[in-house]
């Protein structure tokens, strides 16, 4: 099962994980990761923008790469766009596999690519002013691990 979604409104990662696990009773291991808006440093909102013709197709291609690279029974990628506030979930990745290693690695692989190689731009609202977030060196290094 491949489930890739780009959402304009909030979602419940725990409910998504429960549904994903329920759909894969034959899996011996399910790994998941949830990214949320970090509180602190005066951030009152985070906005993620995307470009529709590229962003969702890119996520679907990433899911296909993960499914061919790892021995998986299913993969779910859910990503928010639009405005969020601290504590809101931004991204959820779930992978189901017969054994844990492939599930864990697939989640790591998908997250590194979503962080460093997916078509998203983000800005933070601090003290009433928007600030664009620049790419991080760490994200490039994380991506290079899989090359």
């Amino acid at each position: 099962m491949r489930d890739v979604r780009l959402l304009e409104t909030g979602f419940d990662p725990a409910a998504e994980l429960a549904g994903f696990a329920h759909a894969h009773p034959e899996a011996g291991g399910i790994a998941s990761f949830v990214g949320q808006v970090r509180a602190g440093q005066g951030v009152t909102a985070l906005e993620l923008s995307h470009y529709a013709p590229l962003t969702l197709p890119g996520m679907e291609q990433l899911a296909d790469e993960a499914l061919s690279r790892f021995d998986l029974m299913g993969l779910q990628l859910i990503h928010r766009v639009g405005q969020m506030t601290p504590g809101d979930p931004i991204v959820s990745v779930c992978a189901a596999a017969r054994h844990r290693r492939d599930a864990i690695a697939a989640v790591d692989f998908a997250m590194d690519h979503l962080k460093g190689d997916a078509w998203f731009w983000k800005r933070e609202l601090r003290a009433g002013e928007w600030h664009w977030i620049e790419p991080r060196e760490q994200d490039r290094d994380d991506l290079a691990r899989w090359k």
Binding site: L54, I90, F120, W121, W132, I133, E134
Partner: protein, 81 residues
Amino acid sequence: MAIRLVFLGKLADLAGAPQREIATATLGWADLLAGCGAELGGALASEKVRVALNGVIVADKASLKACDGDELALLPPVSGG
């Protein structure tokens, strides 16, 4: 007769709007840079800015040729999900 430009990320701030229509039959990369003024044109000239023509990444920006009805997206480096 127009070509639609879509500015992503901070390029939208520099452009003053996320989209712009240019009334022309064809548009090349050099014409685009020249037509955008010093500040926006300078930002677009960065080798890190990528371009998509009707949703497909253009491998060689210098050879870009957009035509009437096309959508040209200007994509700065992504900042991660």
